[in-house]
Symmetry: C2
Subunit: 160 residues, 2 copies
């Protein structure tokens, strides 16, 4: 299933099929979270509502889900920013697939269970490497910040 080719389409809908099985963000992994990252002006946005089981201490989201969301959000954001940098409209072909080299998360406050919104900004880009800074909004507050270094995948498989 592909989204319409608008700015609000999810970049994960355009990952190559063989790079679309990620538990976090793969559209072809029915067991996973299927995070979706969209362009929003010069920023990127991933919205997700965790399940009640994704708890840390009761009522709060566990740190692993937050890291996972910010990780896939960052790889998706890198693809969005790379397309924009190259002047390629999303959906005109396959989206580039980035993998994570480094992810640093600052947990600023407990994140309440409920709708989450990760917002990404481009810090730096070359053809091969993109650095993305993100914040996580929950219930009107920024509860986490992340900085991720993403590497463009050419053909060999790699982690994310």
């Amino acid at each position: 299933m592909r989204a319409t080719e608008t700015e609000s389409a999810a970049v994960q809908d355009f990952y190559p099929d063989d790079a679309a099985h990620c538990y976090g963000c793969g559209r072809l992994n029915p067991a996973g979270h299927r995070f979706q990252t969209r362009a929003a002006g010069e920023e990127s946005v991933t919205e997700f509502e965790p399940d009640a089981v994704h708890t840390a201490l009761p009522g709060f989201v566990y740190g692993g889900l937050i890291a996972s969301l910010l990780d896939c959000h960052s790889t998706g954001s890198a693809a969005i920013f790379a397309l924009a940098r190259e002047g390629v409209a999303m959906g005109t072909g396959e989206a580039p697939r980035f993998v994570t080299r480094h992810l640093a998360v600052d947990y600023l406050a407990p994140t309440p269970l409920g709708p989450l919104r990760a917002i990404g900004r481009l810090l730096e880009a070359t053809d091969r490497k993109v650095i993305v800074e993100s914040e996580l909004d929950a219930d009107g507050a920024v509860t986490a910040r992340a900085r991720a270094v993403l590497i463009r995948l050419e053909s060999a498989p790699g982690p994310t």
Copy 2:
């Protein structure tokens, strides 16, 4: 269910009940991963075998699970190192519960699906804060490294 009171018991078995629901490492979260972290000499060890669905690109573990494992491994390690620092044997009471303030992960190489082993070392400790450095071994290679700053939870709820 509590492990026997030996050095090889999992520290998560001694978290207070109201801090044992974490999706990553809570013994009271039946839907979660239930990571278990044990003392091993001056180090700490968390072993886990991801499910086939926890894929990144086919055959490899997705980065969010790696971050999640290293996160809970680090909070567990902080508790183990705090007990050792205070000369308290594990299982003589409740274990201290640490939450994550900062987690940085370097993904060095794709992590193949299969048994994983996180090994932690104490970098720094005060009564309130512990810094843990970890590496992730998969199939004989170190595929990720992490540095985590953990804060001891007194009574108010917080994330991890």
